[in-house]
Amino acid sequence: MTTLLTTRKLGKTYQVDAVPVPSLAGVDLAVVAGELVVLMGSSGSGKSTLLYLLSGLERPSEGEIDFDGQRIDRMDETELSLLRRAGIGFVFQAINLIPHLTLFENVVLPGYLLEPDRNRVDARARELLDSMGIGRLADRLPAQVSGGEQQRVAIARALINSPRALFADEPTGALNSAAGSAVLDAFRAINARGQTIVMATHEVKSACIGDRVVFLKDGRIEGEYRIRDSAAGPAEREAMLLAWLVEQGW
């Protein structure tokens, strides 16, 4: 079991009109390769901030982040860009596909940044879209497909460069329950193939696809809960997680 991602005393303080507003403090976290870690917490708990820091979208105010042996916190903007390009995928709640590109074009674009052989990128994109069950929609524009289908395109886009870690921020937050389930199935499937995933969510059902839940409160880790240690069925898992979350003050 290889540790892919490690943080030590990680903290982030925003400056709002020159007033320091702490968002995250003293976070120590380790993510093992192939793991699906879920970040939970109430609004303002710092889970999204932690996700930005881990994925190199935001710079920490203090502490260290080690990603696959590289210190993210010491990287300049270009190094971070190259890391995001080759090593990290990101899925947003608001999906954020480029509206004037087709679904296929949205997926291949990050691939073109990394891979000189564009035929290989195209083939990989078709394979990913097929695996998400939306290969037939490849030539449509985002506005011509459903929200769930758009989010699956976003996952395919995040996977095009075979990242070492996939980060997802409330990936089902803007979807109805059926579309949300399809997206969760997709996450489960790719995690089963060994993809490391770190996902922030406030939905108990979504959290239950993870290996463990990290609960944040007021910018600090309050506790961890290992879901897969439980041998219970899906409904019981949800109930047990909910009970743990309530116990943590959710």
Binding site: L57, L82, R85, F90, L109, Y112, L113, N161, A174
Partner: protein, 790 residues
């Protein structure tokens, strides 16, 4: 109450986005400045002239004639009796000098009418305004009053000496005053009038040369000028033998040199206006897109759609109300400064009040346009649904396929691929930017190649209507003279001479229509190997016999003549019949004139002799030692100079003025393109923050992000430059010929500078790229957090 709330939000928006406010304000101010300057110059260019003519009672007809042919009293009486004539001046003695005058030891390129000042000029036409010198009522004996055009051209001031060729050689006269003479102060006029003391001409010239008089007539109704002149010619029995300067010709003399510049300014202001309108619309749109969440919040607080629209209307009207007066104010100084520079010889500033109306009209027009644009764009703000706006901001819901598909561009690097694709997404903006680049490139090409063409003029004067002589010799030296035939033979036989021709100025009176009004043309009598010294025709050939004539192109047009036609020219009182054998173009005398053979002139006056000679030297013979040898042999009997000397003397002012104007316009066009590129780049980034956030998250480096913005501009710049090169190659010669036709060049001898173009094209490309690169730094501020909805 709601108005106060709307005002509060509008002012807060302006303060909140100081950078954008400054950008839009500067675009509005710049566009109104350009528009006001262009229209102002076109509208006001004639006003100082009109004003000067009014104040100084300028003459609508200035007649120079031989008192032995037309009795001055009879002529003046006829004019005084005509209705519509307000002032008739005295017929004052004048001598038309056919030899060169000197100032500061240099021969003047301008010939002079030396005229006695009337004893009682008060209340008559053509009152003089003294700019320099003692304010006497009349020139003192030994003094000469000169017009501003001569003073500026020859760098003469009061107290300097002007030497005129008189009966006993050169007579030095002290410049007593520099004056604005309404008819003769236009730059580049030739000949011009200088004034001497009443009764002083007989002390300088032989009695036999004192037969000419000059008389001026001012009309109460200038529109009746043509009819009155026709009646006058009829009264004389069908012909007026003399020179006449009418108001149209005088006005042309003041304004013709600036025809090209005026046309460029019109084109420039039109483009500037379009650019400004589009920039305002685009900027307002982007500001609103960025404000979508705020709009949603306002709607939840009770703002109606109309109130939201009013926020934007008021916001940009406030901004325009500040920016427009600043732009118009600067434009006022630009207009008056430019016109005063163009009309400095008449020393009549643009009256301040004349621009107030135009300024007010421009203010109202631009304010209305800004309002109309903002109202159109702000409609979208009124349609914002509060819940969606607060949650998602401004999201695209477009389902139309736009731009080139990525599969077609997949071989390009990603930044370039995105840049090209964005062009297709924002076609209107891309077209405007492309047009701005095309205009900037064309202005730069014009500046470079026109400058090169005028430089080439020194080596190829023939293409501009002059001779191509490498050495010019004036037979009438400062002290002594040599006979024409003797000098001609000597020059022909001189070693190193390839061709010799002679020509000299002569005027002729021609009927505009058979039996109709006459007009005086200034032409040239030619002799010798005129083909050899490079006199060219655009149609036909040079005259070979006494019955042949070639006409300058504008003269041919006005007389409705062409090769094969016939004209009657009254030369020195003798009506001579000519067949038109050629039509030539010439920048000299704004494309008016004729060329006849010396033999034709001698039919009218067997003693007439030319004084100017042009020599083409054999290959390998340098002009300077040749001139030195000639002067060593003939001493002061001849004046010899390099063939292009008069380009320095006479045309340098015109060409340097055009160079300055074109250079200025090229710089302004480039700056306008730069402003447009900067604005477009900032707009593109502001409107696509979400997309740039996605690209940043996907791993595009800062340099790649900037390149994706810059490459689009680069592609447009390349396309714009290619388009400009094609337009230049196809249309430049024709366009310049049209523009220069007003000054006699109907087939402009454009000489493209390959080196100049090789420098200008990459410079423009780099300039465009730099103009996009600097503001593209704004893309680095895009934070992917903007993609995340809490």
């Amino acid at each position: 109450m709601i108005v106060r709330s709307v005002l509060l939000v509008a002012r807060s928006n302006l303060r909140r986005r100081r950078g954008q406010t400054l950008l839009i304000g500067s675009i509005i101010g710049l566009s109104v400045l350009l528009f006001f300057t262009g229209v102002g110059i076109l509208r006001e260019i004639e006003r100082p002239l009109t004003l000067m003519f009014e104040r100084q009672r300028g003459a609508h007809f200035t007649m120079v004639f031989d008192a032995r042919i037309h009795a001055p009293d009879s002529v003046l009486s006829w004019w005084r009796a005509q209705p519509g004539v307000s002032l008739v001046g005295e017929a004052t003695p004048t001598v038309a000098l056919m030899e060169r005058s000197y100032a500061r030891s240099a021969a003047l390129s301008t010939f002079l009418f030396v005229t006695e000042r009337p004893l009682h000029p008060e209340g008559g036409p053509d009152s003089l305004r003294i700019l320099e010198g003692a304010p006497h009522a009349l020139p003192a004996p030994g003094e000469v009053w000169i017009p501003t055009s001569l003073a500026y051209d020859a760098h003469l001031t009061a107290g300097d000496t002007l030497e005129i060729p008189a009966a006993d050689g050169l007579v030095p006269l002290v410049v007593g005053a520099v004056v604005v003479d309404p008819v003769f102060s236009a730059p580049f006029n030739n000949p011009i009038r200088v004034w001497v003391a009443p009764g002083s001409l007989p002390s300088y010239f032989k009695a036999s040369s004192l037969n000419r008089v000059i008389a001026s007539v001012r009309l109460a109704t200038p529109a009746r000028g043509d009819a009155l002149w026709a009646a006058f010619v009829k009264h004389l029995g069908g012909a007026f033998n003399g020179n006449v300067y009418d108001y149209a010709g005088v006005r042309n003399g003041y304004t013709a040199p600036y025809v090209l510049m005026a046309a460029m300014i019109v084109a420039f202001s039109a483009l500037g206006f379009l650019v400004a309108l589009f920039a305002i619309q685009g900027t307002v749109t982007s500001a609103m897109l960025a404000d979508f969440r705020m709009i949603g919040i306002l709607r939840t607080q009770g703002f109606t759609p109309r109130d939201v629209r009013r926020v934007y209307e008021l916001q940009y009207l406030l901004l325009a109300a500040v920016a427009l007066p600043i732009g118009i104010g600067i434009g006022f100084f630009a207009v008056s400064g430019t016109i005063n520079l163009l009309t400095r010889t008449i020393a009549t500033p643009v009256p301040a009040g004349s621009l107030v109306g135009l300024g007010a009209l421009t203010f109202v027009l631009f304010l209305a346009l800004v309002y109309v644009f903002v109202v159109q764009v702000a409609r979208a703000a009124g349609r914002v649904r509060p819940a969606d706006a607060i949650r998602f901001g401004a999201q695209s819901t477009g389902t139309a396929r736009v731009g080139i598909s990525l599969s077609r561009l997949r071989r390009f690097p990603v930044p370039l691929l995105l840049g090209i694709r964005n062009l297709g997404l924002q076609r209107k903006r891309a077209i405007f930017l492309g047009v701005a680049i095309v205009f900037a490139a064309l202005a730069a090409f014009l500046a470079v190649n026109l400058d090169h063409s005028f430089e080439a003029m020194r080596g190829n004067l023939a293409s501009f209507g002059f001779d191509a002589a490498s050495v010019r010799v004036s037979r009438v030296g400062r002290r002594f003279q040599i006979r024409h035939e003797a000098l001609m033979t000597a020059l022909r036989e001189r070693p190193g001479v390839k061709a010799v021709a002679t020509w000299d100025g002569i005027d002729g009176n021609v009927e505009v229509t058979p039996g109709g009004p006459n007009r005086v043309l200034f032409g040239t009598a030619v002799d010798g190997d005129i083909d050899g010294v490079g006199f060219e025709n655009i149609r036909g050939r040079n005259p070979k016999g006494p019955g042949e004539i070639s006409l300058a192109v504008r003269t041919a047009q006005s007389l409705k003549q062409d090769v094969g036609g016939r004209v009657t020219l009254n030369v020195m009182g003798a009506p001579l019949e000519f067949q038109v054998v050629g039509v030539y173009q010439s920048i000299d005398n704004t494309g008016e004139g004729f060329r006849i053979r010396l033999e034709a002139v001698r039919i009218a006056n067997p003693l007439w002799m030319p004084v100017e000679y042009g020599l083409v030297l054999a290959d390998g013979v340098a002009p300077a030692p040749f001139i030195a040898g000639l002067e060593a042999e003939y001493g002061e009997a001849v004046d010899a100079k390099a063939g292009d000397y008069f380009v320095h003397d006479q045309l340098e002012a015109v060409t340097s003025g055009l160079r300055m104007a074109n250079g200025f316009l090229a710089v302004v066009f480039l700056l306008a393109a730069a402003v447009f590129i900067v604005n477009t780049t900032l707009l593109t980034i502001a409107e696509n923050r979400r997309i740039f956030g996605i690209l940043k998250t996907a791993g595009m480096t800062p340099a790649q992000l900037r390149m994706s913005v810059v490459s689009g501009v680069g592609v447009q710049a390349v396309l714009g430059l290619v388009a400009a090169l094609v337009v230049w190659a196809v249309a430049a010669r024709a366009l310049l010929s049209v523009l220069f036709s007003g000054v006699g060049m109907v087939a402009f001898p454009l000489q493209n500078s390959l080196i100049g173009m090789a420098v200008v094209v990459p410079v423009i490309l780099l300039f465009c790229l730099a103009s996009a690169w600097v503001p593209s730094a704004a893309v680095l501020d895009v934070n992917p957090k903007a993609l995340i909805v809490e």
